[in-house]
Symmetry: C4
Subunit: 245 residues, 4 copies
């Protein structure tokens, strides 16, 4: 895949997150540069629904834009660099404020998979609170210290919540982080619906492990085609393997 195609898929990822209600005017998605692992690609500061290929910038892991040409970067781009620095396995990162996710961060209610499609969020999603180490702030992760603290709390996990703010989703591919962002939102919705009905049976750790062990690119691909259709974006097929349920 050419870099132009890669950038086009990053635009599509932004549009998908907007179409699915995961992001509104805020939130962002990045990918590690396919050729320069010490760089990442992220839009200038703009609503995901409005992003075009020309809005995409290359950044050093410390958040320095390589060729801004007058384009203003996101103040919270540090989140992305810190995760790429701490996690060589990560090739895509989403930061979003899904309205389904916020309630868990502000109540401490446990967020865990209730459905096989949602196993990618991890057996138990932790919450990071900026106030713990940084006190009263505007909650924005706008410097390397806050971003490093957040990335350390994320550890090896796929998802972490941010109290009163949103969450971070990290993964091995753009399709994977978009998939887990949308199914994180769904899992949160499912838990909020199930909660009043009675005690919830979550997936067992063994079931979560079994889902992740058997999940292949095919699953992400089927969803990606569907979300491209809904977002009005062209779909580029990828070579696939793995189970197809």
């Amino acid at each position: 895949m050419t870099l132009a195609q890669t950038l086009d898929e990053l635009v599509t990822a932004n549009r998908i997150l907007a179409r699915e209600g995961v992001v509104d005017s805020f939130g962002h998605v990045s990918i590690r540069h396919p050729d320069r692992p010490e760089r990442y690609l992220l839009s200038r500061a703009r609503a995901p629904e409005c992003i075009e290929a020309d809005d995409l910038l290359e950044f050093a892991l410390d958040g320095t834009p390589i060729d801004p040409a007058g384009r203003t970067p996101y103040a919270e781009r540090f989140i992305h660099g810190a995760v790429y620095h701490a996690r060589p396995d990560v090739r895509a990162v989403v930061h979003h404020h899904s309205p389904s996710v916020i309630p868990f961060g502000v109540t401490g209610a446990p967020l865990s998979p209730v459905m096989h499609m949602c196993a990618g969020i991890g057996a138990r999603v932790p919450t990071w609170d900026s106030r713990t180490r940084f006190g009263d702030t505007n909650l924005l992760v706008t410097n390397a210290a806050m971003a490093a603290d957040l990335a350390a709390a994320l550890g090896e996990r796929p998802v972490i919540l941010m109290r009163g703010h949103g969450c971070v989703v990290a993964g091995a591919s753009l399709r994977e982080v978009i998939f887990n962002s949308i199914y994180l939102q769904l899992n949160a919705d499912l838990q909020m619906k199930a909660h009043p009905l009675g005690p919830v049976t979550f997936l067992s750790d063994g079931e979560v492990a079994a889902v992740l062990r058997t999940r292949g690119a095919f699953t992400y691909e089927r969803a990606w085609e569907f979300w491209c259709r809904r977002a009005g974006r062209p779909y580029q097929a990828r070579p696939m393997e793995g189970p197809h349920h």
Copy 2:
């Protein structure tokens, strides 16, 4: 009706389930082959919203694709074959993950009709748990043993829930299973809305029986025309009888 028309209606059924939010990228609907009752028709592994007539495959009841021509089948197709094998009366099957249905499967809250339109889900919807006999799995019904166990739990009923996964809806016609899939979703929504307000008066067994006794093809037909309109699909009228409320 020609086989081409039958396949076109199966495409429409997929699009309706997607438009009504019953399925997302996953879930599938099949029909028993009109001429060969030991065969069923089901799409290749693809999101229902994206399915075209060329995606539809013929399968033996054991899940063997007759002429795949390189098209990848759903890993969970075994659900369909097992139900057709166990239930000669069944001519259409839906497997879906409606977000309204999942909360009942993971809490064990009783799911029963609260409204006449929803009587087709049966007086009480049971739940099947893959863990009971198969332990920690990825929850996918990807073999004959799991599918047969699920079909046995369904028994003569129209609907069964699958804990942490979704449900199966079986019926005598494609219009009937689409109707009951959508009104299953609605009934689940209605129960979740009603639950906090106080003890719910469900339809009595006598009322459920009276609705089913007097329900004719006309009811399914009126809804089918509406759902075709919403899904942007052409509507083919069917001969009709029965009450029209």
Copy 3:
């Protein structure tokens, strides 16, 4: 206004109820014949979203279609005739199954105005249960006896719920019953949202009376123009008076 224009507005009313989610494939709206008060106008049995002018039929108050010409009437048309017979003041009737209304009918939770726009539903909405006098039925009001019992329970009120089925909304004009059907749905939604937050302060009887005393055609007109726009239907202005908030 010509009869053709009146029929066109009845088509629009059906489309508005569908667009606003008050009706799905079922539910119906009628008007008393402008020239023959012993007759009413109602569609043949069809989903409101699909109705065209040619679907509209004239009925005697006993439910006899005047000139069906092969068009099948709604089995529940008796509801309309019974209300027109019992209420000379009524010139329009809606029967619908809004998913927001059903939870109140099946729990007996009180349904009363929480907001000025919703005062038209009346200070307290009663519930009629077909089982009380007619035992286990399919819940459909398909004969004169059930319809008369329902109309008697409605009395002089604008709205009555039907347990496990839906509701009836009656009023002095088509715009009024559409307005009160949509704000009945909203009030039900508002009560379900407010209920978990704490004891609800409903409008006082004096406030309900004050709203109704000061509500004029202008209020219905402003909403009608908006709903026509949303439903993709042409808007025909009506002469107006009354307060404009």
Copy 4:
């Protein structure tokens, strides 16, 4: 910016509020006249989704339309004049009935920011009850006395709820009041979702202050571009400064 451009943005603001579900057929948004601070600009009485530039009128702070030319003003325009009179800092006012906001006004449940984006609603949103001083009314603020009482209760705050009616949002710019109206709705939704999950951690007063201290026009601008896109309205960029998260 020319007055014509200013009026065009006021039309856009109306369409945005309708598109985002903050207003239905009712509710209104005004701006202080850019050249004559003792005047404000507000539409004639019409649903926000239907408003065109020709519907916009100029009013004296006492609610007198300057050149109505047969156009009927909103009966509740007095709300706007009273706030502009009491608050020289205010340059835009919204009155709306968001279905998410009503439940807080009728239960007295505390409404406070749970998320950084929502800090603009103020640390604690008060509720005004027309009945306290004016007894049983139709709840409409249709005279100077009620409007002045409401404006006094608002005080220096950005938002006040009106029991059984809606709310008022006041601010220094059109973009700011639209932003705070939409995030007020979101915050209310978030609190209703979080409430059943457990005690909610709201933003601290220090966090609310920090967000407001660091929020610049850039934040409103990014959202305005997104909402213009969603509402199908042309976007006019404004000069920007401040943090970009």
